[in-house]
Point group: C2
Chain length 322, copies 2
Amino acid sequence: MKLATLKNGGPDGRLHVVSQDLRRAVRADDIAATLQEALDHWDHIAPKLRHLSDALNAGAVSDSIAFNEEAAMAPLPRAWQWLDGSAFANHGHLMQKAFNLPPIETAMPLMYQGMSHRFLGAAEDVCLPSVDDGIDFEGEFGIVTDFVPMGTKAENALRHVKLCLVINDWSLRAIAPVEMKTGFGWIQAKPACALSPVAVTPDVLGEAWRDGRILTSMVVNLNGKPFGTVPANEMGFGFHELIAHAARSRDLPAGTIIGSGTVSSSRYAEVGSACIAERRAIETIADGKPSTPFMRRGDRVCLHALDPKMFGRIDQKVLVPA
Amino acid sequence: MKLATLKNGGPDGRLHVVSQDLRRAVRADDIAATLQEALDHWDHIAPKLRHLSDALNAGAVSDSIAFNEEAAMAPLPRAWQWLDGSAFANHGHLMQKAFNLPPIETAMPLMYQGMSHRFLGAAEDVCLPSVDDGIDFEGEFGIVTDFVPMGTKAENALRHVKLCLVINDWSLRAIAPVEMKTGFGWIQAKPACALSPVAVTPDVLGEAWRDGRILTSMVVNLNGKPFGTVPANEMGFGFHELIAHAARSRDLPAGTIIGSGTVSSSRYAEVGSACIAERRAIETIADGKPSTPFMRRGDRVCLHALDPKMFGRIDQKVLVPA
């Protein structure tokens, strides 16, 4: 089933069930007022949502409304925890090679904790302080968990994956390396992310949900031009391993969002990239300098899975002061 | 005024106003159900809480109860954002010298985002997976903000400080350097922090609230023995500067907690330290190896301001599997 959050004036919006084809939606707030509430009591709530979803897809719901992806809030407009991995090693290799960085020596998954008090809707403008910060998108796949007890092992972690989605992890590239060098992770370089219009249960993905990975491609358009159609099959750790890593010394609250990191492929020459920084790294390796600029005022980026109806489209415009 | 959160079975507890001497408390949930709600509408709510506080301190509240520090939840049992600084340069210098680390080259405040979906109560046991992780406390002072718009400058930031408190930033020292080396900050090395029994408005601090700093000492007892009485006057950045740093590319939600980092003094030979890792660094510099062990099962640490009635006492026991 597919779930969305529509505006109701409150910070967490109102939960809706959306049809498989993303054409219709129906209020689900008599089952759970918000997606957070649904995740807090998932085992109890999910069967009721699924019943409503089945009826909606069968055309048997009389009070459905037209679903407008662009009007959706993030499925979780705020969450108690956002942990972003960097599980595509190819992305790291390119960045290190281009910028002469020392390799990151760890056998553990890479992961940072980002701001989670605000996730932008899929078509929400991105308001940032300055184009001089090196404004960039990152196309990622992600999952949402229910409550995960501390110490959960990878082999028991997949059962905690309740929803899958697409994430645009907005990044400020002029600040990122400065903060990274401190070892403390990112504050200024990682403003609010955006989430796809719908979050979907793993069964929706069919064969694309395998080995704890979302095995489709990330399709990226920048100002209407193709930028990448990057297969996600080189994800080095599965989401079950990212969950176990995160839960080593803490419980994870229901509604924890975990990201894959920028989707990246060693066949980048054919398939492109899911962020500008990686393309600039490829250009630097080839030509000694980057030629693709970071985003400018009014630029748009569109991100979606190979089937754009799977999660809907993220399509955002950059707003910065003139 | 002093505010506390007492248990009511819910995740956010019930807001109480506490007397200056920490002896009496009165329910404040007819004014705001939770501290988060009070912070969300502070300008409107605070005058009413202060009115109740004045009455309580004048002995004019009939339905007050005895206040028990040990029964308090964290004033914010969960928060939308926890950003921890490391504003005492002496602590970093000692760690670098002892462990031959490269100096962190930045003129910016050091800051990481930590888990905020759970803050332990002041007397709550600390359940961690293993003593082999190098279990350590960090005695810090912290502040709580109302909503801070993106781009707020340091000179305008102090008005957003609504509450002050003491924080025990639990740390796992065997994991911390491994995670730090990735540049991504800490996930496993930073489990849930504890907060002091009460959070207090800055006016309570009198002369100790100056230059955006909490200018008292951090008193630390480990298993009943004095470990440090560390003056906080060497804080390199004030909380107004930490707020401005954090708000560079994001709004801060009401209830954002910002920490000072471990309180540390260049007069450490006289005043001691506010974490075991720093004492071990001092021992390593002097003797070539550390002699103070990290915490073991059943060990207790107690943290409070020079006046223990200012914020109350954090007093916690470490629980790990045998």
